[in-house]
């Protein structure tokens, strides 16, 4: 079945990693975008699930503590785990904090087979997590015991977690079930799984099993099609009467490609336990890596992050130019004292330049947190970064779908990057964008929102606004209206009564001691706002006046005092 030799992959999965990364007492959940991203065991016992709305979760579990997601902490806490796995092979691929993968081929042979490797990795990770080691709680050991019977025995491991997007492996009736181990709530857990290809290996790690070579399709068969990660496809397949991965995999590949296009074909290959994209042997992989050297060495990490954004953009341009997409990106950093560090991040053509730079930042902070670069040296001038390199890995032809997205992303990235740099100088609110708003005055037609913050209109833009100024708007709107005096021909202040009657025609406007003759005037235009709410209520009247030299001003009278609100420049 594995005709193009899907490589064996070992995945280490730490459940509920976002929860592990934050601190909090047991019923705790991490939220993102107004929904539950992950929750602790106590919260789950109370009925809290991933993807739930916060209100529902809080109703189910009133004492639930809610935390924002902290990806930096996640990466930092995950670093010891990655380091432990790295002891087995340098080619560790971090899929996201909490999930990493290694190829089995080399280390498997060296450490005496897949089972032995899985057991050793499981123990090393458990050590790294500071988890008390219970020998038969190591998933590798369970799988070893299950191995001889039929060759393919996916086993249930200690409480297959329900937090994941993918449900735990559905039990096939013929397979015996191992009694669940009681789970220690406080210490983070880790599970190891091995299968053909990364997709199946992740599911195997969630179920905590070793899937023997060539039987991955069998292992995948009972999963619902939603496990393939394509919502639209899963819904369609469900309506077609193909609820499981196995039923989908049984369809002929050509028909799937005809009916569902490239994305369907990729899902079908996954369902059959194959690589998502067939490997295309290339005579010579073009060197698309981008790098930046720092001379003198850069002592702090922040400038590297700025450089990383530029590099990521260059990398994307090079990839797009070659018509390729990459599966992974290696982030490599070299230090002045000769030490280097490198880490692979999942890419799959989905990360924007900003997202890639963000991963570089997490990685740098994680390395700094782990003391990777500050260890023994101590020599003042020997510290600092000298090189940052982004190298694409696993190149395959771009299917073309991304091309339009690339162009757009690059254009927007340009602005995004500039905004980030300006905000670094002026602070978060220093640079703002404009959102349309509604109101009567010249300053109420638009609001300025700090870049990166969402805005929800408090008032409708297209409401009628009785008393609104006419279409020709002033070009200068003062932030704070300036007090002025308006005098009539006899030098007496002009007043406006409650019925919008003007005491006399304005003859002079005094702006900061400067007298200006009034050539023409109109008003008052009363604007009574929020009369139903005493704390917000405002009664104002506006005048347009033309003063000496043909300049026009917008004056406001409120509570007997006159203000210059805007100038028609």
């Amino acid at each position: 079945m594995a005709d193009d030799r899907t490589p064996r992959v070992l995945v280490v999965w730490c459940p509920d990693w976002p929860v592990v990364a934050v601190t909090g007492d047991d019923p705790v959940a991490v939220t993102e975008g107004g929904r539950i991203l992950a929750c602790s065991a106590g919260a789950r016992a109370a009925g809290v699930r991933q993807g739930q709305r916060l209100k529902l979760a809080q109703r189910l579990c009133p004492e639930l503590e809610l935390r924002d997601r902290d990806p930096e902490a996640e990466t930092r806490r995950f670093e010891p785990v990655v380091a432990a796995v790295e002891a087995f092979t340098p080619r560790v691929e971090v899929i996201r904090p909490g999930l990493c993968a290694i190829p089995v081929k080399g280390p498997g042979r060296y450490f005496g087979g897949e089972e032995a490797l899985a057991g050793k990795v499981g123990r090393a990770v458990a050590d790294a997590l500071g988890q008390p080691l219970v020998p038969d709680a190591v998933p590798g050991a369970v799988a070893v015991e299950a191995r001889p019977a039929t060759g393919s025995r996916p086993e249930a491991t200690p409480q297959a977690p329900a937090t994941s997007q993918v449900p735990a492996h559905p039990q096939i009736p013929a397979h015996p079930q191992v009694p669940a181990h009681p789970q220690a709530p406080a210490t983070p857990q880790a599970q190891v799984g091995v299968a053909d290809g990364l997709f199946a290996a992740v599911l195997a790690a969630r179920a905590g099993v070793l899937v023997p070579a060539g039987r991955t399709a069998e292992f995948l068969a009972p999963y619902p099609v939603s496990a393939l990660g394509d919502e639209a496809l899963a819904e369609l397949l469900g309506r077609l009467g193909l609820p499981t991965v196995g039923a989908f995999a049984a369809l002929p590949a050509e028909s799937v490609a005809d009916r569902f296009g490239p994305s369907g074909a990729v899902a079908h290959r996954l369902a059959r336990g194959l690589q998502p994209r067939p490997l295309v042997p290339r005579d010579e992989e073009p060197d698309l890596a981008v790098e930046q050297r720092f001379d003198p060495p850069e002592p702090v990490a922040e400038p590297l992050v700025f450089v990383a954004r530029t590099l990521a953009e260059q990398l994307h341009q090079r990839l797009a130019g070659a018509g390729l997409t990459c599966r992974r990106v290696a982030v490599e950093v070299a230090c002045a004292d000769g030490r280097t560090a490198s880490r692979l991040w999942r890419h799959e053509g989905r990360l924007s330049a900003t997202a890639l730079a963000e991963r570089v930042r997490w990685q740098l902070q994680a390395w700094q947190g782990a003391g990777t670069f500050t260890g023994d040296g101590g020599g003042g001038e020997d510290t600092g970064f000298t090189l940052l390199r982004l190298a694409p890995d696993g190149l395959s032809p771009d299917q073309g779908r991304q091309l339009a997205l690339w162009g757009q992303a690059v254009a927007d990235d340009r602005v995004e990057r500039a905004v980030a740099r300006v905000q670094a100088v002026l602070g978060h609110a220093g640079l703002r964008r404009i959102e349309p708003a509604g109101g009567r005055g010249p300053g109420e037609q638009a609001v300025k929102v700090p870049w990166g913050e969402p805005y929800e209109a408090a008032v409708p833009t297209d409401a009628p606004w009785p008393g609104r100024l006419p279409e020709v708007w002033p070009a200068v709107v003062l932030r704070e209206p300036a007090p002025v005096r308006v005098l009539d021909g006899a030098g007496q202040p002009v007043t406006v009564d409650g019925r919008a009657g003007v005491s006399a025609r304005p003859a002079l406007v005094v702006v900061r001691g400067r007298e200006e003759r009034v050539d023409g005037w109109t008003g008052p235009w009363p604007a009574v706002e929020y009369w139903w709410d005493r704390s917000l209520a405002r009664r104002r009247a506006r005048f347009q006046v033309v003063v000496g030299g043909g300049r026009a001003l917008l004056l406001t009278v409120e509570g007997g005092a006159w203000y210059l609100e805007a100038g028609y420049d």
Binding site: R432, I434, K448, E471, V472, A475, V502, D519, G549, D569
Partner: protein, 254 residues
């Protein structure tokens, strides 16, 4: 309104601004083409709007909309009338505003120059020529146009508003319907001699329009009729002695 995208891409128009190479010039509203020596704003240059007339500044910036997805920025202009800017044709969704850059304005401009097509700027105090030269190099590299409200050392072009005059207000009635201005351009090279153009800035729709056209409005409205009559009068500097050559800005007064 100028700036239909279809017009720009699909149709060749006899205008001089259209025939110019797209990389070299940032388009401006058609009424302003006449006064600019290149019929557009040359990319990578600084243009000084003497006296800082905000209306002229906004009208010049309105051409950014005709570039494909181009952004504009306003630095140090907290009093910008955003509704008026929209009237002149600026796309507010593609406008970045840095209200209070303080002493960092030069740094902000040089960062933004790489990302936006045009920057409107009011510097924080007088600009040393050395700093202006450094920013000029940044502009040349990025192709961004810098519109400065006020003087700028080494500006490629200096524009100013002479004899601005509002119309539409009577004695206690009417409403402002438009401003007649004379825009003067002076510059280096091909633009050495001063060019002038008479404009509605803004007209009754808040946009910019050459003065010779009559405002297309309801003649029954007395205010508009009065404006039409006034605009028909041939206005020469001699005929309008009351007009100051450099009307002080409102913001400067306050």
């Amino acid at each position: 309104m100028p700036g239909e995208r279809g017009e720009r891409e699909g149709w060749a128009t006899p205008d001089a601004g259209r025939t110019a190479e797209p990389r070299g010039l940032l388009p401006v509203p058609s009424a302003l083409r006449e006064v600019l020596p290149d019929a557009g704003l040359r990319r990578g240059t600084a243009v000084s709007v003497a006296g800082g007339d905000t209306g002229l500044l906004l009208a010049l910036a309105a051409g950014v909309k005709e570039t494909e997805g181009g952004w504009a920025a306003a630095v140090g202009l907290p009093d910008l009338g955003l509704a008026a800017a929209e009237g002149y044709g600026l796309d507010l969704r593609r406008l970045l505003v840095a209200d209070d850059p303080g002493p960092h304005w030069a740094e902000v401009v040089s960062v933004l120059a790489g990302a936006v097509e045009l920057i409107m700027l009011r510097p924080d105090g007088p600009v040393p020529p050395k700093l202006a030269a450094r920013l000029a190099a940044v502009l040349r590299r990025s192709g961004c146009v810098l519109l400065v409200a006020g003087p700028w050392p080494g500006a490629a072009l200096r524009l100013g508003v002479r004899s601005g005059r509002w119309f539409g207000l009577g004695d206690g009635h009417g409403q402002l319907v438009g401003r007649q201005v004379e825009v003067v351009a002076e510059g280096r090279g091909s633009a050495v001699r001063g060019r002038t153009v008479r404009l509605w800035l803004p007209d009754e729709y808040g946009a910019v329009r050459p003065l010779r056209e009559q405002p297309a409005a309801d003649p029954a409205d007395p205010a508009v009729a009065a404006v039409a009559a006034l605009s028909a009068v041939p206005a020469s500097p001699a005929a309008e002695p009351a007009v100051e050559p450099r009307a002080p800005r409102v913001a400067a007064v306050v």
